[in-house]
Amino acid sequence: MNATALKSDDMVVSDFGTQEFVTVHVGDQILGVGVKEIHDVFAISELTPVPGARKEIAGVLNLRGRIVTAIDARVILGLPPRENGYVGVMAVGVEHKGESYGVLVDSVGEVLRLKDSEFEANPINMDAKWKSISRGIYRLEGKLLMTIDIEKLLVQSN
């Protein structure tokens, strides 16, 4: 299992064979985003839609003077759209090539330190949409955690 983890290219394996993830929930799924990739976590208070943009782009918002593009993880994962609009929705702030993005999720959980030994590559029968943004799966107790490759998620939405 360790070998698999090392194969995935930009995985940083810590000395202790563990990595830290922030867990987020989208639909029924629990997802993990590398701690180092997250700049901040915030709740949407105001969102300006961008007419004509791809459907996963929820809009743009002002985060402390920066314009942040909000990308809805629900849409990327092919889940049904949000019914109550975007106000109050939690977002994970990430950066990519100097641009700020917010990935909209349903809720943000905790920080988990996960052992590399619990890591597994994407099952081959996984949905292509999911596979395209997943780094792999951690086997947690009673549930599975999919790790999100933020870069892929953003690039895909480009």
Partner: protein, 906 residues
């Protein structure tokens, strides 16, 4: 070493630009020793620095160039264009090497012996073996770098020799590299040690330029008086420092943020009238404003810095083409944003090249045309409003209108009919059309062509405009109008479907309201909406439709309620964008879109408003495109890609038209319906009075006006006349010949700005001008009528509750010769009417129709006709004598006249 090299590159590039300009200047006036000294100094400095850095190729080339310059300087060789060319070539070679050096950090391999040979031969033109002599002076090189102790020695050693022949400048240059190298390695330690320090140790390195300058100055005092300029230059440069552009950009961003934050704070405090923050915030605000101004200034550069290369370009082009061209630069000190400057450099260079290539004729042709053999290209920059205008003019051949027209027709840019009725200026603008940019065209077309569309596109990108004026045979003038800065723009904030958007103010022409009680009506052609605005049809599109916001279909309401139309102009197209709300204009800081949304072409960026919300900035170009697309889809006839296209009649409207000729061969037409009679009158019955031609016609005087203002009325024989009557006045329109009466669909295709013409329509296969009868009538009749009007003072009572309209209408009526009593209520009007005995009463019926009705029955009005005033021409006014729209200036007077006459007749 890297740092040293980088500094060397920056500095040398700057020097070289100056050298280019100065050499061209020198060539035109070889007696100008001041300029030559400057050039000499610059080349020398470059060479000197190369020596320190161990760049042999550069050093040899610079050295050979300098040798030749030295000969110019002491007058042993005359500066001919050929020899100056050689120097310029050596400068070019230096630039090439520098470019490689910049990318690789290494001097590229190459052989400069041919160039150096040529330079040396030129330098040897008259003199003996100077270069040989120079070899003696090896040790002069370290001199500038070793001011502390090495200074005196070389001077003493070698000074006498050069002073006689060349002065000091040549001496450090005559070094063969091998010897120099050898000297560094082996020669006496005293001299060399400070030198090698300079190369190796980082600390003394930054001092190098200073040292050199210092060296120059020292030597100046010792030997060379005309070098004073150098020390002065040194003094000036001490007051400026080089700052990395990134630092400035960053500063700019931060200040923009600060401005936004300030705006937010201001908004918060504004809502809270007695806040203790008010005073400090006021201070913060003004400081921020000043800071913003200062930072903006750091980004400003004189436009002349983008022009530095131009003299050289013009010179080279002139030389290659065998032409004589002078380049005159004016307004070089005009400052504009660095970013803008970068962006206009290329288009400008391109245009200058074009001017040299195509506009300026060969000397022989110029002489034949009676012009000075030397053509002049003039570049002028000046501020105008928030813009910079750059004028590029030449006294060349001008554009060949006929060829451009043919080409435009051939390329399908216009129909033949359109092309022939277009003003020349409009035809000239076709050179900006994309199809005009192939090389083939340029050779065929003695006008400009290559890439003018690219030029225009580039200028448009930065919110600029380009236009031209051309006189065949006399020259062409281009106007480039560009905004001062791109960082902060003024924008109009509008709302559509509950969302706010910013439209750059630059592309907004005006705001009008349409529908509802407004005078502008939205009309429909198939599915395309148009707005009738000052006798023009304006294609309309809703903002939500253009942006494809969901549920936007058929967003433009049909005149039931008032809506706002933002009239915009982009790429020569005028169009209206219907918005739901108009908020305010704001100064906004444009922020780029992230790559995830940059694919949305409708927006050029986003901005944060004072209240902290993000709004999208609309890209006018893409909106123009969206409007254009719908037009093409919905109806062919709404083919208003040319904004002048105009449509008055519906497709199947057949009109009887009378076709005639007046002033010129091309047919003219008026609708038969408006012509009362056709007459053929003997001109001997015509009488002249008050500068007008009159004829007694059916018991009254009828003015005769020529249908074409440039044609005179006949002086003998019979004159065909079209008689029109209007309000019992008749006027005669003198024409050359009545041709025909036809039944045709009247499809006015081209609107014109020419007074007295509605436009041009195709009738019986010929482009025919349609006369505006109303124009001629009003001209003839108001003039004609005035003297009579004065005789009886006429009183008018104006009842209008709205002070705005009261103030608007009163002067109009007074100007037309009425005594006006403007009141705000019907009761007041009745009192006035009682003693004024007005000829007519004007009453507003929009506000209070029922009180206005009282006027009709009250005997105090003494039966004076009551004319209803309304904002809409469809208001219910059947009880009243007439109805007139408040904004209809012309109709107002004529309606009153009409009502008065009707009243008298009754």
């Amino acid at each position: 070493m890297d740092e040293l090299l980088a500094e060397f590159l920056t500095e040398t590039n700057e020097f070289l630009e100056t050298v280019d300009t100065q050499l061209v200047q020198f060539e035109s006036d070889p007696t100008d020793s001041e300029t030559l000294n400057n050039i000499f100094r610059l080349v020398h400095t470059i060479k000197g620095t190369c020596g320190f850095l161990g760049l042999p190729r550069l050093q040899f080339v610079a050295h050979a160039g300098e040798t030749l310059l030295g000969k110019f300087r002491d007058g042993t060789i005359e500066a001919t264009p050929d020899s100056v060319q050689l120097v310029l070539e050596s400068i070019d070679r230096i630039k090439e090497i520098l470019a490689d050096l910049e990318t690789t950090g290494q001097e590229p391999e190459g052989d400069d012996s041919a160039l150096i040979g040529a330079l040396e031969r030129a330098a040897e033109g008259k003199t003996e073996a100077k270069p040989v002599e120079a070899k003696v002076e090896v040790k002069a090189e370290p001199e500038p770098a070793a001011p502390d102790n090495a200074d005196a020695i070389p001077v003493d050693e070698n000074g006498n020799k050069w002073d006689k022949d060349l002065g000091r400048f040549l001496k450090p240059g005559e070094v063969s590299l091998a010897e120099l190298e050898a000297a560094f390695m082996a020669a006496d330690v005293e001299e060399i040690s400070p030198k090698s320090e300079a190369v190796e140790a980082p600390a003394p390195v930054p001092r190098n330029p200073e040292d050199r300058r210092g060296g120059t100055e020292r030597r100046t005092t010792a030997r060379d008086e005309d070098d004073d300029a150098a020390s002065k230059a040194g003094g000036v440069s001490a007051q400026t420092i080089r700052v990395n552009v990134d630092v400035l950009e960053n500063l700019m961003t931060m200040v923009s943020e600060l401005v936004l934050t300030r705006n937010q704070l201001m908004q918060m405090v504004r809502n809270n009238s007695n806040s203790e923050f008010k005073a400090p915030l006021q201070r913060l605000s003004s400081v921020t404003g000043e800071l913003q101004d200062s930072v903006m200034k750091t980004r400003m550069q004189p436009v002349g810095s983008a022009w530095k290369k131009l003299p050289r370009i013009v010179r080279d082009a002139a030389r290659d083409l065998g032409k004589k061209i002078d380049l005159v630069l004016e307004g070089e000190a005009t400052e504009l944003d660095r970013q803008v400057l970068e962006l206009i450099k290329d288009p400008l260079t391109h245009m200058i090249r074009n001017s040299c290539d195509h506009a300026i004729e060969k000397p022989a042709d110029r002489a034949a045309a009676g012009k000075n053999e030397t053509g002049t290209i003039k570049l002028n920059a000046y501020h105008e409003g928030g813009h910079i205008v750059i004028e590029l003019s030449d006294d060349g051949a001008g554009l060949n209108t006929a060829r451009i027209r043919d080409k435009a027709i051939k390329n399908g840019l216009v129909t033949e009919e359109q092309a022939w009725t277009m003003p020349d200026a409009q035809i000239h603008r076709f050179i900006f059309a994309p199809g005009f940019s192939t090389a083939q065209v340029v050779t065929n077309l003695s006008g400009r062509g290559v890439g003018m569309d690219v030029v225009r596109t580039n200028i448009k990108l930065i919110g600029g405009e380009v236009d031209l004026q051309s006189n065949e045979g006399k020259g062409t003038k281009f106007f480039i109008k560009i905004p001062l800065t791109l960082a902060i723009v003024s924008a109009l904030v509008v709302g559509a479907k509950g969302q706010r958007f910013a439209i750059p103010q630059l592309s907004v022409v005006e705001l009008v309201s349409a529908g509802g009680s407004s005078e502008h009506k939205v009309e429909t052609l198939n599915k395309a909406r148009v707005l009738r605005l000052r006798d023009r049809l304006l294609p309309l599109m809703s903002l939500s439709g253009a942006l494809c916001i969901e549920g936007a279909e058929d967003d433009i309401k049909d005149n039931n309620s008032t809506q706002f139309v933002v009239v915009m102009q982009q790429a020569g197209i005028m169009f209206g964008i219907v918005v739901d709300e108009v908020f305010d204009t704001e100064e906004i800081v444009v922020k780029p879109l992230s790559s995830a949304v940059s694919g949305v072409k409708a927006f050029s960026g986003a901005t944060i408003l004072g209240d902290g919300s993000v709004i999208m900035i609309i890209d006018p170009q893409s909106i123009a495109r969206a409007v254009g697309e719908t037009e093409e889809h919905t109806s062919e006839e709404a083919d208003s890609r040319q904004k002048s296209v105009k449509q008055e009649a519906k497709k199947d409207d057949i009109e009887s038209l009378i076709i005639f000729r007046a002033g010129g061969e091309e047919p003219k037409a008026v609708p038969l319906g408006v012509v009362t009679r056709l007459e053929d009158l003997d001109v001997s019955t015509f009488e002249q009075s008050d500068g007008k031609t009159l004829v007694q016609y059916r018991g009254s005087l009828m003015p005769i006006v020529p249908a074409d203002p440039y044609t005179n009325i006949k002086t003998s024989g019979n004159q065909p006349i079209l008689v029109f009557t209007h309000n019992e006045h008749a006027i005669g329109l003198a024409v050359d010949e009545i041709l025909d009466i036809v039944e045709e669909k009247l499809d006015i295709e081209m609107a014109t700005d020419k007074g007295g013409m509605l436009g041009v329509a195709v009738i019986k296969g010929r482009a025919t001008e349609i006369l505006d009868v109303g124009y001629h009538l009003s001209n003839a009749i108001t003039d004609w009528d005035k003297p009579i009007k004065k005789e009886e003072p006429k009183n008018i009572v104006l009842v209008e509750r709205n002070p705005f309209f009261r103030n608007l209408l009163s002067p109009l009526l007074k100007a037309a010769g009425y005594n006006v009593e403007a009141v705000d209520t019907v009761s007041a009007a009745l009192v006035c009417a009682e003693y004024q005995k007005p000829t007519a009463i004007l009453a507003d019926i929009d506000e209070d129709r029922n009180s206005a009705l009282r006027l009709l029955d009250d005997e105090r009005t003494a039966g004076a006709p009551v004319v209803a005033l309304s904002g809409s021409s469809e208001a219910d006014a059947q009880e009243f004598a007439a109805l007139v729209r408040k904004s209809d200036r012309y109709g107002l007077i004529s309606t009153i006249e009409y009502a008065t006459k009707k009243g008298l007749a009754a």
